[in-house]
Amino acid sequence: MTPLWTTALLGSGRAIAMIAAIALMLLGLVMVAFNERTYNDQKAREIGVQAQIISASVAPALMFSDNGSAAQYLQALSANPGVSAAAVYDSRGARIATYNRRDEPQPPATAAVHAPYFENSSIVAVTPVYRDGQVFGAVYLRTDAETPLRRFSRYAGVGVLILLAALVLTVLGLAQGGALAGQFRTRGTRAAIAAGNRATQTRRRSAAAESKDGSHRPIDRRCGA
């Protein structure tokens, strides 16, 4: 029969394995959330910087009312397939140059300066165009963000790894619990065998002593009983 404490140990081993697996999965979720946040921040920063570069480039065109040059600059953005739309607005807010990739909607007719933000599957930034402390207009930039499917595929590999690790932990925990229980059972059996052996030896010694002393001892024993 398995002692109670062995059963408890077996149970606690399983529990530890389960807790470790759950902790691992939670850690995985935290990692995904952290990566997602970091990715979004990094992407927003990138778009902000890109918008600032465009802003610095079109500043002279705005300063010298050269709409054609601003438009030419925006057309050059077609070399970047990630840019879906862009526009330049003058100091009165009027759109003076625009670019949009095929099948993409045009930039809005007016746009207020705004820090980079996510809009559906795009990231949008509206940056002021300024020089020598004077604002000459604004630049609107819309670029593609990662689609949900691509994001899922990015995290799928990590998710599978975490699940596998959790599974291995669970199996290891269960196996270790089983092994411990077996070990305790073996110890118990050995102890019982040793006790049996000791009892047999004692009986043998008693029998030998009786054969030397004759029948007094059994009589004494009976008298004593």
């Binding site: 002279p60 065109a61 300063m63 010298f64 009312s65 040059s69 020089r131 020598d132």
Partner: protein, 180 residues
């Protein structure tokens, strides 16, 4: 009586045309004045030209008094690289050498260019007001009712001035400096 009416109508028309032309000229001067002070933002002068980091940018105007007034109004309160503007109307060629930029039109534009040759002075001429052959480092022209400009970067190099390539890209034409 009828003759008087005709005369009056002709006079009114002439007055209206003159007023319209004056407004157009003022507007064009306003654009040129704005462009002129903004050019400064894209030009680098050699070291030692300015007395200190706060020394104002002195723009001189020769031969275009109304423009000097417009330029003064336009540049009031404006700063480029922390420097304010000082607009000076000059009549003597000798005074040109004290300027960082000079707007010269009319017959004396050629003399100004000779007087400033090699000096770190941004010379600006105007094709609409005078000899279109005489061209400073920046030369204004009007194309399709819009003020545009040509840039002589080779002359800028002779004057030890450095012009931002972004400004060069907006010019109708650029006479390139020779590679040193």
């Amino acid at each position: 009586m009828r003759f008087k009416r005709v005369i009056l109508a002709v006079m009114l028309s002439a007055f209206a045309a003159a007023a319209s032309q004056s407004r157009a000229q003022t507007s064009e001067d306003q654009v040129k004045a704005t462009f002129l002070y903004r050019f400064v933002s894209f030009v680098s002068w050699p070291e030692g030209v300015f007395a200190d980091a706060q020394a104002p940018i002195r723009i001189c105007v020769l031969g275009a008094a109304p423009f000097a007034d417009v330029l003064t109004r336009t540049t009031t309160g404006q700063r480029v690289a922390g420097r304010a503007f000082e607009i000076r109307r000059i009549s003597e060629l000798e005074a040109v050498t004290e300027c960082h930029a000079v707007y010269a039109v009319g017959d004396r534009a050629d003399a100004v260019l000779k007087a400033t040759h090699g000096a770190p002075i941004l010379t600006v001429t105007d094709g609409a007001l005078g000899n279109s052959v005489t061209r400073g480092i920046v030369h204004f022209v009007t194309v399709d009712d819009r003020v545009r400009f040509h840039i002589d970067d080779a002359r800028a190099a002779e004057s030890r001035l450095l012009i931002d390539p972004r400004l060069l890209s907006l010019a109708l034409s650029v006479r390139r400096r020779t590679a040193s």
